[in-house]
């Protein structure tokens, strides 16, 4: 009897299960009306159609890492047969090259440049701009994950380090004008005849702030720090070139507005980004250093011995602080010397037992000593060197081989002296001597 009941219940339970099991209600699964495979396939198709859709292809200014490197402009024209034409402003070769691409499924749908072309120049372990990027090239990627579209742009994220990269529709001019980016690069670096100092000036509509500005061409990266005490804002930015100016990342944020596009003015060599309501940012030249130091006082009369040296065959010759005009003047000395002779060192001895003098030494030629007096320009925070004698002879004229070089150190406007905050390999502090009225700057070690 008992077992009979058990069967009854069992039967009833099975009946209930069966009747409810094939309920057609799949509310919980209605999020998408397509299967994952269908959706991925649709996305693949969407991306491929999109890449093929733009008449003149796509343009991307690729900032691989905007904390150390600038932007590299690439142009892409995709074709149905799986090939892509590509050009880049990575170096002076802005010609167009052909290679292959694929739409691949990675962590999501992505475009991959599967055989070598210009974009791979950013991902060459053996070609890196600074020692700290050894084996990492320019930190570039060439597999881009598809994250949809925004205002006609294609939004990607790089596969390796997840940085956003936008493909913008290119124009015919983008292709023809790409080489002009490299002309602009020279303007960003700055010509020999431009002043040595640069600043970034921001205007938020009411207040103006000034920042020093230094650009490193090898990395296309600029550092810009406030020079005002109690105002510690920095704008470090990667720089990309355009035919008309530069584009920076991260944006320079002024008064809540993000400024990224700067326009070049050939008249004064400045780059200006303009926002709304009087907001602007300008990168411009200035004749004197933004932050003047008292370092010149080390050489004033009454101070202990100072010994500063520039050496042609040592790291001082590679210092980024030497100006092009300085190098050009060194070359002038060598050109004026007979075959087999060349300039070797330029040293400044201040307050030595025999006085203050500039010591020029040569390869296979006797050295020359230019004795000077040092005067202070307290208001201008600089020193002025005045001629006394050559090797103790007060009547002899400046030797012809040094005439051009020496006059920069004798600048009547004076010399700025600055203790730099970097080292040139060795532990000796680095001092620069800059002519106040011309873009002449020499880098030395302080050797005592």
């Amino acid at each position: 009897m008992k077992i009979k009941h058990l069967y009854k219940y069992l039967f009833a339970a099975l009946l209930v299960l069966h009747l409810s099991s094939c309920n057609d209600n799949t509310d919980a699964e209605q999020k998408f009306d397509q299967t994952p495979t269908e959706r991925l396939n649709a996305q693949k198709g969407e991306l491929n159609d999109l890449l093929l859709s733009s008449e003149f292809g796509w343009k991307a200014v690729y900032f691989t890492d905007n904390t150390v490197l600038g932007g590299y402009t690439h142009l892409f024209k995709f074709a149905k047969d799986g090939t892509v034409q590509m050009a880049s402003d990575f170096d002076s070769d802005t010609k167009t090259y052909k290679s292959e691409y694929e739409i691949q499924l990675g962590s999501t749908v992505s475009v991959v440049f599967t055989t070598k072309n210009r974009i791979h120049l950013l991902s060459d372990s053996n070609s890196y701009p600074i020692p700290s990027l050894e084996a990492e090239g320019y930190l570039g990627d060439f597999q881009f994950l598809y994250y949809g579209q925004e205002n006609g742009d294609i939004v990607f994220k790089t596969n390796r380090n997840n940085r956003e990269l936008r493909f913008v529709k290119a124009t015919a001019e983008d292709w023809t004008d790409l080489s002009e980016n490299l002309i602009m690069e020279q303007n960003v670096i700055g010509g020999e005849d431009r002043p040595l100092f640069r600043l970034l000036e921001t205007n938020d509509g009411t207040a103006i702030h000034k920042f020093d500005f230094s650009f490193t061409a090898a990395t296309r990266f600029a550092e810009s720090n406030s020079i005002e005490t109690g105002y510690s804002v920095s704008y470090n930015m990667g720089v990309g070139y355009t035919p008309t100016g530069i584009v920076v990342s991260p944006a320079v944020e002024v008064g809540g507005q993000k400024l990224t596009n700067f326009t070049y003015s050939d008249t004064d060599g400045s780059f200006t980004a303009t926002g709304t309501n009087g907001v602007s940012a300008v990168i411009k030249y200035t004749d004197k250093p933004l932050a003047l130091t008292d370092d010149y006082k080390l050489l004033l009369p009454g101070q202990p011995l100072g010994w500063f040296g520039f050496f042609i065959d040592d790291y001082t010759v590679e210092a980024p602080t030497n100006s092009p005009l300085f190098y050009a003047e060194i070359e002038k000395i060598n050109a004026a010397l007979p075959e087999g002779q060349s300039i070797s060192t330029i040293e400044i001895y201040s307050n030595s037992r025999i006085g203050t003098f500039i010591y020029y030494s040569f390869v296979r030629r006797a050295p020359l000593q230019h004795f000077v007096t040092v005067e202070e320009d307290e208001a201008g925070k600089k020193m002025v060197l005045k001629h006394k004698s050559w090797n103790g002879n007060t009547t002899v004229a400046t030797p012809a081989i040094l005439a051009s070089f020496d006059k920069y150190l004798m600048d009547p406007e004076g010399i700025y002296v600055k203790k730099e905050n970097f080292r040139l390999v060795y532990s000796e502090p680095v001092y620069t001597f800059t002519s106040a009225s011309s873009p002449f700057r020499m880098t030395t070690w302080k050797l005592n």
């Binding site: 069967y7 039967f11 047969d81 055989t115 053996n126 084996a135 596969n159």
Partner: protein
């Protein structure tokens, strides 16, 4: 009796319900997956004819993040550099082994896939990784963009890589006499081998500095270096060794290599070396 009847009805009901309950399902449609073969270029067809069909070796030259180390800054080969690189591999490596080891030798023991990478694989200590052999299945060759077919040193370095990696694959199939090898230059192995100049390592009984990383690399370096030297070059190399103990160690290592090829694969190692030399000259003069 009554119980049994009841059961019969119940079973019948359940069976019929089971049979009809889930009817009306959608019919299977065509697959969502894309089965169409990618369009083959003339290069792809050349690879099929020269690698896939005769040796069952797949060559991958297009970038695939799954077969490379994503933490390294590498790039795929330039398309017109692929075939010259593969021709060198085919002539100097595949053909030499086929001639001496028999036509089926490489077919039986070979990597199933060769991955080509165009760029240099630079390590943070300044050394370059030229090749990788993984699990006896896949060989990755780097720097294919820099091959210069007219330059013997350049071709030798590239071929050195594949010879070296192939020795690893042979070892992964049949081990060499590790016990005997271990006794020869036990004190010379070091993890920072790259800090030593090659002549310095030669004088310790190692054919290269890299050979000092461990005995497996030592064996692969010894065998592959002898293979890329010509007979005369190798004799000159030995003649230049000053230290008698180093010379003895190098010769003992050579003997183990020769014995290994004979015993494991019934192959005359010197004949293989001569064949490789002949084919190398053929590549460079082409």
């Amino acid at each position: 009796m009554k119980l049994l009847k009841y059961n019969k009805i119940a079973v019948l009901a359940i069976v019929s319900m089971a049979l009809i309950s889930c009817a009306g399902d959608d019919q299977l449609k065509e697959s969502q997956l894309n089965y169409t073969q990618p369009v083959k270029t003339s290069l792809d067809n050349w690879i099929t004819t020269n690698y896939l069909n005769p040796y069952n070796i797949n060559v991958q030259y297009k970038w695939n993040q799954n077969t490379v180390d994503n933490s390294r800054y590498l790039f795929p080969p330039t398309i017109n550099k692929v075939k010259p690189a593969l021709e060198i591999v085919q002539t100097i490596w595949l053909k030499s082994y086929a001639t001496i080891g028999g036509p089926d030798f490489v077919k039986k023991i070979a990597p199933r896939e060769i991955v080509l990478v165009g760029g240099v694989n630079l390590n943070s200590v300044g050394t370059r990784t030229l090749g990788l052999a993984e699990g006896g299945q896949r060989v990755t060759l780097f720097e294919t963009d820099y091959i210069d077919q007219s330059n013997r040193a350049n071709v030798s370095e590239f071929i050195h890589t594949i010879q070296h990696e192939y020795i690893h694959i042979l070892n992964q199939n049949k081990p060499f006499d590790e016990k005997a090898w271990k006794l020869l230059t036990p004190g010379g192995y070091t993890a920072d081998w790259y800090n030593y100049a090659i002549p310095e390592s030669n004088e310790l009984g190692f054919i290269t500095s890299y050979a000092r990383s461990n005995i497996n690399e030592d064996f692969a370096e010894t065998a592959s270096m002898i293979l890329i030297y010509s007979k005369a070059e190798y004799a000159a190399f030995l003649a230049g060794i000053q230290s008698p103990t180093a010379l003895a160690a190098l010769k003992a290592k050579e003997a183990i290599v020769v014995k290994y090829f004979k015993e494991a694969f019934n192959m005359d190692f010197y004949a293989l070396r001569d064949e490789a030399e002949k084919n190398t000259t053929a590549v460079i003069n082409n």
